[in-house]
Symmetry: C2
Subunit: 347 residues, 2 copies
DNA sequence: TTGTAAGCGTTATCAC
DNA sequence: GTGATAACGCTTACAA
């Protein structure tokens, strides 16, 4: 780094070949036969000289940056949950590394700078994009769709032809609520994870309604509240539910984070979980099992989601499995101690 | 993106100037006088044609990638806490964007791939590096130090000449423990956030000892356990403490995450917080205020830390404020409801 | 099987 | 003030 850079020219000279050969060997170009001896000589020379190809030069010449962009939507509250970002990054970086790529990250506010990430593409900084928390009102996304830029969404966007990976939110929510029904609850409240303009929130809500319907229970709008990603919203909405006078013995809360806030509100009212109110969450964040009582919740396989999305994008970049791919991942209910059979109820 | 790319050549032709002039105008090169008329014409042409400079070409020619690397140390357990990564990224991306840069992210295992991030530098992918959770046994770091590669650490590394930003862990821990002392506690246990080979863990431990010393209390090794970043370790270590037969009425737990596990262990034993045992945590993670009872803890200003580190690196890259800079940020104790005055105690 | 040479789209050094 | 022109370090037809 200090001295002059080692270039492919230097390696070529040392190995007694041309730069072309060096390039062929180092990039393992298919369809080109190079003798074992030459190959070995080049590899050794590169190794000895500590040659590392210049990324910019390579990108310029090959028209491939070998970088994928990870774009997260920063609502005022962040994507699904902060707790997901670590396993997400972890897994994605593994995928990317396995394929010899790098990852560039950007976070956008849905309100402003919506277009900010287009620069990544226009400046050819990235070859493909992974978008978490896509929104219909994202104008930049339309551009991507028109241009056919390699894109994979984490989450669905109906009416578009994007590839995506997601979980079956409806099915998962239904499973969670059915669990409550089986325990004998007939008055089950619901706090969504977010505004229903988010597909995931709407789907979870739908699952809740379906479970009620399947059980022959009636849907009561008075038992529904809308969370807003964070603990505060859970606290407020549960307070509202408790103060409303509507009676219920259980609640499906479509986010562990929101559930944590809700539990605090229940406790503040002097009520107990699950004695007075049973709770089912969603996400299975690390803290769920350490809540008091440990929270029964839907496990969201975030690492799988990330890996599938990453591999899907890589496949697209490599022109394997072309066309539009979609994948719905399974979830499972993790039963812990926040649900009881219906008993005294509230009020 | 679909049609042929717009190059600076195209812009130059449209504006009726040379590529050089376009470059001067768009990069706001100092020391070059360009007439307002020309400048405006170039800017307009670029705007109209939707010109976005090619990042690779620019990097190749200017020898500046305009990208900084964020390298996180992935221990088996991740940097300090998962919950920190979102505000960290958030703030860093703001800084970077403000300066017209981009960010590339990498995560390394301290065991393997220690050298993996050197490729970022060797391939000239990044101009500077931001390293979180630096470790003394990181060989690659030595290389950076020798080469004088622009680097800012988040966390300290004694015996090196790196720039860094950190909090005063010792002072913060002392403040936390003194709080317990003031409440009348004289038998105060300690669970570290991690192994003391981590500087932060060692410093927090030292702060704990100093607080005891200042209060004239004796240090008892039997009251100390070593956490390991996660909730599980907190659970296990608190169990060990409780089973050891040593008596204590309060505990300083140098991580909220670890504290959450510890609290579960306390509850499992049928004890209460703060009635039987007072608890002080460290980090002030979002869930701390929603714990039952809300956790008294040290607030770690992660966003400030990120911003300071980011700005410091940018300054170094711009050759402002040269030399080695170091910054210690203040913390404050957030008093909630997990501490009481000494009363019955345990056992 | 390997080499030659022409780009890739900028920036930067000089002249004018 | 502005414009040629040479790097920058690599990939990749095309030749040999």
């Amino acid at each position: 780094m200090r001295g002059k850079r080692v270039t492919s020219q230097d390696v070529a000279e040392r190995a007694g070949v041309s730069r072309t050969t060096v390039s062929f060997v180092l990039n393992n170009v298919a369809g080109v036969q190079i003798s074992e001896a030459t190959r070995k000589r080049v590899l050794e020379a590169a190794e000895e000289m500590g040659y590392v190809p210049d990324a910019a030069a390579r990108a310029l010449a090959s028209r491939r940056a070998q970088i994928i962009g990870l774009v997260l939507t920063r609502s005022p509250h962040h994507i699904a949950s902060d707790a997901f970002i670590t396993p997400l990054l972890d897994e994605l970086i593994d995928v990317v590394r396995r394929h010899g790529l790098r990852m560039m990250i950007d976070i956008i506010e849905p309100q402003h700078q919506k277009e900010a990430y287009l620069e990544l593409i226009r400046a050819k900084r990235i070859d493909g994009i992974l978008l978490s928390g896509p929104r219909l009102d994202d104008e930049a996304l339309k551009t991507l769709e028109e241009d056919g830029f390699p894109t994979v969404l984490m989450g669905q966007l109906s009416g578009t032809k994007f590839c995506w990976v997601d979980i079956d939110n409806r099915k998962a929510a239904k499973m969670a609520v059915s669990h409550l029904v089986k325990l004998g609850h007939s008055h089950i409240a619901c706090i969504t994870n977010a505004d229903v303009s988010y597909t995931a929130a709407a789907d979870r809500m739908t699952g809740y309604r379906q479970a009620l319907k399947d059980a022959g229970l009636s849907f009561d709008q008075n038992l529904v509240r809308y969370g807003d990603f964070d603990m505060d919203s859970g606290f407020r909405q549960m307070e509202s539910l408790l103060d409303s006078g509507s009676s219920f013995t259980a609640a499906f809360i479509a986010s562990d984070t929101v559930a944590l806030g809700a539990k605090a509100a229940i406790r503040k009212k002097g009520l107990r979980v699950p004695k007075d109110i049973s709770l089912v969450g969603f996400d299975d964040l690390p803290f769920a099992r350490y809540m008091d009582p440990p929270l029964t919740t839907v496990n969201l396989p975030i690492a799988d989601l990330a890996r599938e999305a990453g591999e899907m994008l890589v496949n697209i970049l490599n022109n394997k499995k072309p066309g539009c791919q979609r994948k719905l991942l399974n979830t499972k209910l993790v039963i812990r101690a926040s649900c009881g059979t219906k008993n005294n109820g509230y009020p």
